[in-house]
Symmetry: C2
Subunit: 368 residues, 2 copies
């Protein structure tokens, strides 16, 4: 039973069933244009991260707006985007399961596929898994540039690993993944500059180390919405991976930005289902429709405060003027775009007060 | 593209692709038997909450183990369970949207359907929405028994509302929803007894108030896994709504129990994808596969500690003995069963080390 979309094409916004993720198409298109303007002419390639939206319709619009391909985090995500016609996918993550590695190799027959590794174990598994297959994978070595999660330390073992990659038939060492995720949500621009300055320095040393031994390092990739302008002008990064910029969220709203500013194109529409407890209005969405890992959703219309959340409910403080009634609409900014999108099956695209598009979130739940 | 299951029937547990939600079928069946034993002979009916598992295969087994039907939270959930053959569904929530109310009325042609209201606005909307439809709905008034979320205060307006319900063709006042959700995770049995003592008292007063004016109140429903034995022996509650008992989670593991104890039948299987940063092992699951609203998942095999989580990763402290390697399996207890289940499309049921069943989580994402 495929989930029903929460709206009909052409319907007024007020008739969208809730909870629903709604995209303001004007703002969304402006965000894509803002990013294209920011990156255009820099000589650096834009490869937006599809983990943020999981939606082929958005990825195809990003391609039309200058992207060279997309990033994914999961093999099953990559399968969705290749099936939708994206010709170039980088998996910005490590993969251990030989069956998943074989599926990636299969995908590489119809699209250019890149994958990250951060140690010899991955290369051994790739060598084993690809036996008998004909695919070809670009392999990037992930280096730890301050994130402290995945990624090798920068040192001479990079050279050994790059050589080991090139020694496996069908694998090509293609460069470095140098993503500093922790820097994205540092609130002050100066703190982000310091963090990315360190990342750039690590990437520069790693690249020099490889090139010094005659190993070409054509790709250095990283960056997110919070810092992409810094990596872009570093002289080292060749690709950028921002994801959130297309839709945005309340967590990014807490960043101070001194570069391009993106609009909040994504909102979560909800309906008041109870006002029985004085001073409160209760919405028809909770943890199952709004991720709270990076903070609560923020009510923007009406502007009020979230008093509490549970699996199925969000409790708002009743606005003093114009209190909410059962059936009223409330519009929230999602706390964190990526895991919130992963809870929904549809984006409802609106313009001029009407539903213009219904985009399936095809890679929703693609976790394998 | 319907999501692929993470395992094949008959495969050894070690070959389940990850991340995957795995049910130990022996423990699951023991939990159902423990609940049936606890409730059997009490004269109180068991109506497990399907929001916890969203899985018709589990609901049908609960029915076979003595349940009279299930509870749901959403109309689209109820549609899934009625389509699967559940003959009696109570929606333990308020619904504002007239289209959803019409869909519920439609469902009532093939199953017995109950719904909660907590004020006159809901009854007016029901009256309006059901025009021209032939369904019949049992209506329960939700009273606030200490949860402070939805629910009317206990007072004479209950009588007016019950009369207003019965005045609408096709609606029957059927009783009270008196759920104290906050009590479920009070850690000490004495604190839960105090909270439920208060809830029982509120429900008793409300029922007396109604019956004193000649209005029958055949159903009083509430309770969860943390407190059901208290409501069961209250002499007031006639139905129980526990959901988590079938699978359990790390949040319930922090409760001290002095009644029936349920086993942790549900685990989240994950795979180590990186050990490049010293002292850490990084798993292939993050916020998109494990809800963190009620605390982090807990690694049980090997027993170690979660150092951090992000959208796609969980970082573990490396066990000092037998450090984890890339490709190793790690088994975690989900932090909170309901929203974690809602992130997955399949339960993998295992017994004697092999995959015995693959149960689709059909109502996953059913939020409308």
């Amino acid at each position: 039973m495929p989930p029903r979309p929460p709206a009909e094409l052409g319907a007024p916004v007020s008739e969208i069933e809730t909870p629903a993720l709604v995209i303001d198409l004007d703002l969304f298109e402006r965000n894509l244009a803002t990013m294209a303007d920011a990156v255009g002419g820099s000589g650096v390639r834009l490869r937006p991260h599809a983990k943020a939206h999981k939606c082929p319709d958005i990825a195809l619009r990003q391609m039309a707006s200058g992207a060279i391909g997309v990033c994914c985090q999961k093999v099953s995500e990559a399968e969705v985007f290749v099936a939708a016609g994206i010709p170039d996918v980088l998996l910005t993550n490590e993969v251990a399961d030989p069956r998943k590695l074989r599926r990636l190799a299969d995908l590489s027959r119809t699209a250019r596929i890149g994958l990250c590794v951060d140690g010899p174990a991955h290369v051994a598994r790739l060598a084993q898994a690809r036996a008998g297959h004909e695919g070809r994978l670009d392999i990037l070595i992930e280096i730890d540039v301050g994130q402290g999660r995945c990624g090798m330390p920068v040192g001479p073992q990079l050279v050994d690993l790059a050589r080991a990659i090139d020694a496996v038939p069908g694998l090509s060492f293609a460069g470095l993944q140098a993503y500093q995720g922790k820097a994205q949500h540092l609130r002050a621009p100066q703190d982000r500059r310091t963090a990315i300055g360190h990342a750039v320095e690590r990437a520069r040393i790693a690249k020099s180390m490889l090139e010094g031994t005659g190993i070409a390092c054509p790709i250095v990739t990283g960056a997110g919405t919070g810092t992409f302008a810094l990596e872009m002008t570093s002289g080292i990064y060749t690709e950028l991976q921002p994801g959130s910029y297309a839709l945005m969220d309340a967590d990014y709203a807490r960043n101070a930005f001194d570069g391009p500013v993106f609009a909040h194109a994504l909102t979560l529409h909800a309906t008041v289902i109870s006002t029985a407890v004085p001073g409160q209005a209760v919405l028809d969405v909770g943890y199952k429709g709004a991720a709270v890992d990076s903070g609560l959703p923020v009510p923007v219309s009406p502007a009020t405060e979230v008093l509490g959340m549970s699996d199925e409910h969000t409790v708002l403080r009743q606005p003093e003027r114009a209190p909410l009634a059962v059936g009223d609409r409330v519009i929230l900014l999602p706390g964190h775009v990526d895991p919130t999108v992963n809870l929904h099956d549809w984006f409802v695209g609106v313009r001029d007060g009407r539903v213009e598009t219904l985009w399936p979130i095809t890679a929703r739940g693609a976790g394998l």
